[in-house]
């Protein structure tokens, strides 16, 4: 049986892993728009950009890249705001992927994320082979 490879980091490292790989599947914890200094910008598109930077950093720990993402679920606290800014939001997302995203996507409204300042959480699954 393939061992699980774990990547723990951040203030919740005792509670969960940022990434877990077993065999060819890599599951990444939902990432949010908090930068390395703990700052959360106000704009949804800026939070999105940081969330993808966090995703990318986890992928790197497993020698993987954004190209390995196959599935993405976005949870947003304010869908009306998200759709009102869908231009900059999806432009920031395309910039994060570096091309038209080659992923399945699901976009869902949520009542709340773990911190009231958070507007978006992005959960991705990567397939490595």
């Amino acid at each position: 049986m393939a061992e699980k490879e774990l990547y723990r980091n951040g203030p919740y490292a005792d509670f969960f892993c940022q990434g877990v790989r077993r065999g060819d599947m890599l599951f990444i914890a939902g990432q949010v728009g908090v930068d390395a200094q703990g700052h959360i910008p106000d704009a949804l598109s800026e939070q999105l950009t940081i969330a993808y930077q966090n995703i990318s950093a986890v992928l790197e720990k497993f020698n993987a890249s954004m190209d390995d993402i196959v599935d993405e679920t976005m949870f947003v606290t304010d869908m009306a705001d998200c759709m009102a800014n869908v231009g900059p939001v999806f432009a920031a997302r395309e910039a994060a992927y570096g091309k038209k995203p080659e992923v399945a996507q699901t976009l869902i409204g949520t009542t709340a994320l773990v911190d009231p300042a958070m507007k978006i959480e992005i959960k991705v699954i990567a397939k490595l082979a």
Copy 2:
């Protein structure tokens, strides 16, 4: 490494894929109750039927079928309405599968989907081998 096979379609084709296959895993974007003419019926059970038709259409592009679905997450905007109509809702779902669904399921309330007229979004994962 297995190449990713992508299926792009619809008004959001620049933003995400309706389906992404790598190896034996097929991830399908959350599907909603919008028919090919852009119409969204009012009843939850009718939206559900169309969402499954859209899922089935994506599966066909990968030479797969509803039988290959292993996991399903349903997001509904009005859980009380969903449970009040659970009979017709689950009958429509069984009709979509053509039998008792052979899938794991998770049913979750959401604040909003991308269009206020949408009442349900269905996200499935298929395993092809």
Copy 3:
């Protein structure tokens, strides 16, 4: 092609499977804090404990264990309550895993689960090889 192995149980056995395995992937239906007698305790941490017992029971049907879980999504109806009780909640979770959980995690607020008394639903994916 690997056959799907299905585990059906409980009042919704006609509607979905508690677990579906195909090959090395095991998808488990979202589990809630309802015990075998249909009782739902009030406290979030108690519901969480029962939900994990239910998850563990499904894993056992597939000769798997909590160690095989790679991904976990928690949906909670009251994020503020969850975070206000994050100590006992995560202690109960660590007890369920028997160690620091070796899983990716995503924690999301939901408007509603299928029964108004439910405060948490936990959806996990296991990778068996």
